[in-house]
């Protein structure tokens, strides 16, 4: 056991505390440097995470470092890094910057603990660390009623989901007599399925479903993403949502192997409802942040197809789509933040800065942002060469091949529904693209702030890079899926 493997978490925790401490000591003016320090720390821990392949457990089996945890940690750190770089401009000259960066770093550590959790206790603690930090971040503009409303709704639904999850965990512990996930797995492999197992599974699916924003547990997501500061929405949609998925991969796939057949049906229904509802409601949205929120609900529906068939390839597809979604959605929210900055620099008292009418002629007003948003939208719709295409391709292919090999018609029907949904989503992305490139601009060309441009271009590189050269990422995802030990 070597603590070098935990270096990224240790680095970020120390950095978070240091940032808060430095914030106490320096004047409000010099706090702008904290953003650069946090970005450097995140970049360093990203390199440390990419560099190590893992294969060890820590603290009496409470944490495990394996390929699955590593790929999700890369997602979480990358998303936080993008959000922090953009925040250097978004929260410039804000006197609470120290708390802001401290909370983002702590939220990242929480998500990383969830990714590594090998025990229900560490899973719960990681979940709560990430959730509580993001509750505060959602309400960070404390004079802005919609930010506070977003935080309150997120808090109530988030704590409700934690309570459901904790109740489910207490039942799992009661049945199996252990909180350690491999031990629970060993227990369920031999035991008979009883009613209380099903009950525990329902609570866990509901608890994770809230975090993943699956319909019918989604109602907080559009409100929270719309009301929060836009960089925080990017962190929530691209990062903290994936936390639910990695937890579900670990617990539902691994530990409740005994009641597998029931999970398949539950997730098939949830996935179909989620993707259809998300896409249909996104069509009628005027607010782009809200549209992105519904499209991210739809993407959660696609990713949860991985739980329906639970083959190694489908889980790899889910992981790939989660990775791609992190770049595409994170980048898209940051581009919306640039539009917000543009509208506010025209008119200080503007309301609803993310209204679709503000995107008119964006191709002329902010060409880099508009082009990147164009790329993100095509990637979200699943057009090659992009990360979104690779993820959807592997995922849909795995479900289809499972359907063919088991000759089950209902799986094929689900794939057809998913593909039709992808086609439907092109409609509302194309609508925004028409606004950006066809309609006349409402003002002069603006100077896009450098931190935003850097963050958005990094997201574009991630999106296109995975699309053009997917082999190493697909291999990582397959390794990650093989950890779960399914067929």
């Amino acid at each position: 056991m070597s603590y070098v493997l935990l270096a990224p978490e240790i680095l970020l925790t120390v950095l978070a505390l240091a940032v808060i401490l430095i914030g106490l000591l320096v004047s409000d003016k010099s706090k702008n440097i904290l953003g650069y320090i946090s970005a450097a720390g995140l970049a360093a821990s990203l390199l440390l995470t990419i560099g190590n392949r893992g294969g060890d457990t820590f603290f009496y089996n409470a944490l495990v470092i394996d390929p699955l945890s590593q790929i999700f940690k890369i997602i979480f750190i990358a998303v936080s890094l993008l959000a922090v770089i953009a925040s250097i401009h978004y929260f410039k000259d804000n006197r609470n910057q120290d708390e802001y960066y401290g909370l983002i770093l702590l939220a990242t550590v929480g998500m990383m603990v969830v990714a590594s959790a090998n025990d229900l206790l560490s899973l719960f603690v990681g979940f709560e660390l990430a959730s509580m930090s993001t509750y505060v971040l959602a309400g960070f503009e404390k004079k802005n009623p919609s930010s506070l409303e977003a935080a309150l709704k997120y808090f109530i639904i988030g704590s409700l989901s934690s309570a459901l999850m904790l109740f489910g965990m207490s039942l799992v512990y009661g049945v199996s007599g252990s909180t350690n996930i491999p031990e629970i797995l060993a227990y369920f492999k031999t035991a008979q399925v009883s009613g209380i197992d099903i009950l525990a599974m329902v609570f866990l699916v509901a608890g994770f479903g809230f975090k993943m924003a699956l319909v019918p547990f989604h109602m907080w997501a559009p409100d929270t993403y719309e009301g929060s500061p836009t960089v925080v929405s990017s962190l929530l949609a691209a990062g903290s949502k994936k936390m639910g998925f990695v937890a579900a991969f670990r617990v539902l796939v691994l530990a409740l192997v005994a009641v597998r057949a029931d999970i398949q049906v539950v997730f098939a229904i949830l996935a179909v409802i989620t993707m259809t509802y998300g896409n249909v409601v996104a069509i009628s949205q005027k607010s782009i942040k809200r549209m992105l929120a519904y499209s991210s609900i739809a993407q959660a529906g696609y990713i949860s197809l991985a739980f329906v068939v639970m083959t190694q390839m489908s889980i790899a597809g889910g992981v790939l789509l989660a990775l791609g979604h992190a770049f595409m959605k994170g980048g898209a929210f940051l581009a919306v933040a640039v539009v917000g900055y543009m509208v506010l620099s025209d008119n200080k008292n503007a309301k609803n800065t993310d209204d679709i009418s503000n995107f008119a002629g964006l191709g002329k007003r902010a060409p880099i942002t508009a082009l990147s948003l164009f790329v993100f939208f095509l990637a979200l719709a699943g057009i090659p060469p992009s990360a979104g295409f690779i993820g959807k391709f592997v995922l849909f292919y795995s479900v289809t091949s499972e359907a063919v090999s088991t000759a089950s018609t209902w799986l094929l029907v689900i794939v057809v529904i998913a593909i039709l949904n992808s086609a439907l989503s092109i409609y509302y992305y194309a609508r925004v693209i028409r606004y950006m490139y066809v309609l006349p601009p409402a003002g002069e060309r603006i100077h896009e702030p450098l931190p935003y441009v850097v963050a958005i271009l990094l997201a574009v590189i991630g999106t296109i890079g995975i699309g053009l050269y997917p082999e190493p990422v697909i291999k990582m995802a397959m390794d990650a899926a093989s950890v779960l030990g399914v067929i």
Binding site: L120, L121, F124, V125, E128, M132, Y135, V136, G139, K142, K143, N144, P145, S146, L148, E149, A150, A151, L152, K153, F155, I156, S159, L160, S162, A163, L164, L166, F167, M169, S170, L171, Y173, G174, G177, S178, T179, P222, D223, E226, G227, V281, S284, Q285, R290
Partner: protein, 100 residues
Amino acid sequence: MADLYMYLIISAVIFTIGSYGIITQRSGIKILMCIELMLNSANLNLVAFSSFNDNASGQVFALFSIAIAAAEAAIGFAILVALFRVRDTINLDNINILRW
């Protein structure tokens, strides 16, 4: 064995009261109290199972979750106070800027 069932029934009742309250109550403070009820019913479960299974990890889990619930309540009240300063109300029926 009979004792375990008693604890489980009590915790299920408390959990139900909590979730009923979250659905029906409109005051922010009452909703926070209901969330606490739900978390604590799970703690009761954990401790009861720990005693029944004769293994201490359930009690450790309950201690962690009590500490987490305290932090959660602090954050909830902080959000409510901030909201009250801006809006002069914490009645959830009036908190409806964001909707489609």
